[in-house]
């Protein structure tokens, strides 16, 4: 461990643009493996005034998290944009299309948060960037975590405007048919590695 730290320190004698400050700032926190079967990445919105719920069936998350080492904690989620399902054929056939996620051009959406802080009520806030359709916007995701031994369940939700990311083109740029507000919900079950 000492050697690693020394190596990092040595590298950081090299120009600072290498970005070593992070490496020195904190030991990376423990890695958690997401249990896909027990985890959901959901979203809900409205179509012509009626609300609907959906999930992304495929996503991958690299999670480093320790309440005692938030500086070394980070979240990196990659979502397969073509895997969105809402239980409606018409809607589901539209979502990967050019007007919406344009999954052929932008197969992935990504949320990267390197700053995680704890709030006074015991919940956490993951601050980072969400990228959809190659549009990157800052996003702060509040979440709670329940840790039992090596198992943990994290839950959270955040609202965003689909129009901020250019999701919904042409006739769907306005909220007339499909609401601009989208609520994203996460429920992640993970095991400490």
């Amino acid at each position: 461990m000492l050697r690693i730290a020394l190596t990092a320190a040595a590298l950081c004698l090299a120009p600072m643009i290498l970005g070593c400050s992070d490496a020195l700032a904190a030991e990376p926190a423990a890695v958690w493996r997401v249990d896909q079967a027990k985890s959901t990445l959901g979203f809900s919105g409205t179509q012509t005034g009626k609300s609907f719920d959906g999930v992304f069936k495929r996503f991958e998350a690299e999670i480093r998290f320790e309440p005692a080492n938030l500086e070394g904690s980070s979240i990196d989620v990659t979502v397969d944009t073509a895997s969105a399902v809402t239980g409606d054929r018409q809607r589901d056939s539209a979502l990967p299309g050019a007007d919406w996620f344009a999954s052929k051009t932008f197969p992935e959406a990504r949320f990267v948060a390197n700053r995680i802080t704890k709030a006074s009520d015991g919940s956490f806030l993951a601050e980072g960037d969400l990228t959809i359709r190659d549009v990157k916007r800052p996003l702060a995701l509040p979440f709670t975590v329940e840790i039992n031994g090596n198992d943990a369940i994290a839950s959270g939700e955040v609202s965003l405007m689909r129009s901020d990311f250019g999701v919904g083109r042409g006739e769907f740029e306005t909220g007339q048919w499909v609401g601009l507000d989208v609520r994203v919900t996460i429920s992640i079950a993970a095991e400490r590695q």
Partner: protein
């Protein structure tokens, strides 16, 4: 079957009668629903969207039934026109009937083209009655100026609908004239309930 024998029939076949009335009911529903849905405002987007889905579903139903009907018509000669019609009356009756077939095919096809060319096409696939996927017509795939083209097709679709309304007025008016003024039984050839009641009375 000989033409003379077929022509001597006094009534349309049951299949022809059923097709006639089912399509008639659907057409009237389509005209009413179509007029309603295009006049709904933004505050009624949900109903508007639903009505469009039903309109497409019933429109394609009419198209399918019309093909069946044309096939039936070509293989089953209808009862002859009543004696004593003036030649222009015969021509007008034929023209009205042929006109209906042309409209019954062209209205759904124009509607289908409209859906396929629409700016909504990429995001709104058609599922007839919520189940059967109806692909867009391939001709409009790479279309750029969708609003413009869809607008023009919409005008054609609308024109067909209004010609249909005109023809319906003519057709119903003629049927009622034959029944109440001429009293020649023409309407009864297509009206199963009236025909049955009459046969019970006689």
């Amino acid at each position: 079957m000989s033409i003379a024998f077929a022509s001597a029939q006094s009534r349309y076949t049951s299949v022809a009668i059923i097709l006639h009335w089912v399509i008639a009911a659907l057409i009237i529903g389509q005209i009413a629903g179509g007029l309603l849905m295009v006049n709904l405002g933004e505050s009624q987007s949900a109903l508007k969207f639903e009505l469009f889905q039903w309109h497409k579903s019933f429109g394609i139903t009419i198209l399918v039934l019309t093909f069946i009907r044309i096939a039936w018509r070509l293989t089953h000669r209808p009862p002859a026109l009543p004696q004593g019609l003036k030649s222009y009356e015969r021509a007008l009756a034929r023209l009205t009937h042929v006109g209906f077939y042309v409209l019954l095919v062209s209205a759904p096809v124009a509607g289908w083209a409209l859906v396929s060319a629409s700016p909504f096409a990429a995001s709104v696939q058609t599922y007839l009655f919520g189940f059967i996927h109806l692909p867009h017509l391939p001709f409009f795939e790479g279309l750029e100026n969708r609003r413009e083209v869809a607008g023009q097709i919409a005008e054609v679709h609308k024109l067909i609908a209004f010609v249909m309304i005109g023809l319906l007025v003519l057709h119903i008016g003629a049927a009622l004239k034959h029944h109440f003024l001429d009293r020649d039984g023409v309407l009864l050839r297509m009206a199963p309930f009236l025909a049955r009641r009459k046969s019970i009375q006689s």
